[in-house]
């Protein structure tokens, strides 16, 4: 197989593969019986994203996006907290980042060639590159909107401080 740096993610990965990875991650991290369902619901106005970068023959990001309230509910589920225990912003960033990290690690493993994975980041999603270099899975968890987006970088990023070699 000949690899090209310009090969878009849509030629390397399909939504079914992303769904199969989410099917393993949700019950393991979010909780027994929990699922990411590929049923689109309207996106909320306010969004938060967590992502990890993949740097290799294909370079881009794996981004998990949802409403802040969904991120908080995900964190409560991951940590198995019960009222009156509340999660703080640090917990939410950590939990959402770790979900993106595990999704990203598994998506990296199905991409061809040797790649490196960055550390999780949280905030507004990074800008997308080529329009055809995006594989997005829209779904819901407990009725809340979520997307998992595998998107190419605008340009190959320089080696970042948080990038850890294989």
């Amino acid at each position: 197989m000949t690899l090209s740096a310009a090969q878009p993610i849509t030629e390397l990965l399909d939504a079914e593969t992303v769904q199969s990875i989410a099917d393993e991650v949700w019950p393991s991290l979010v909780g027994d019986g929990e699922a990411f369902l590929p049923v689109p619901v309207p996106p909320p106005a306010e969004l938060v994203s967590a992502w990890v970068d993949i740097i290799g023959p294909w370079t881009g990001s794996v981004v998990l996006t949802c409403a802040p309230a969904t991120a908080e509910a995900l964190t409560e589920s991951v940590l198995m907290t019960r009222p009156p225990t509340v999660v703080d912003d640090e917990d939410v960033a950590d939990a959402l980042g770790e979900l993106a990290n595990v999704l990203g690690g598994n998506i990296k493993s199905v991409l061809p060639g040797e790649s490196r994975l960055g550390l999780p980041q949280i905030g507004s999603a990074p800008s997308r590159g080529r329009l055809d270099d995006v594989c997005s899975l829209v779904g819901q968890w407990r009725g809340n909107f979520l997307t998992i987006t595998v998107q190419g970088a605008i340009a190959a990023p320089h080696a970042e401080r948080n990038e850890v070699p294989l």
Binding site: L29, T75, D94, G97, N101, G104, G105, S109, V164, L166
Partner: protein, 120 residues
Amino acid sequence: MKILVTDDSRVMRQIVIRTLRQAGYDDHDIIQAENGRQAFEMVGAEQPDLVLSDWNMPEMSGIECLEALRASGSQVPFGFVTSEGSPEMREKAANAGAIFLIAKPFNEDTFKDALDGVIS
């Protein structure tokens, strides 16, 4: 038995500790480190019987920690719990002296498969 759980994510450390308990390893002392450098120092200071470590961490990665431990003469049993489990990483982990690599996501059965025989 003393087990050192190393991960820069506090959430993931909690999940690893919870999974250890679900797998039946609930009567051991658990200590925690946030990165490879802290784990390296705690191996010297705390003398754990087993290190469970993430791979990708700031300051010092898990593989750098393992290599530093072996270079310093430590033979503490060391296993990875990481979000990636490519054949290249498994080979590199084994070559550096890791006894197993658990890829996330995992469950208690994954832990039992890797840890039976390691944890008494």
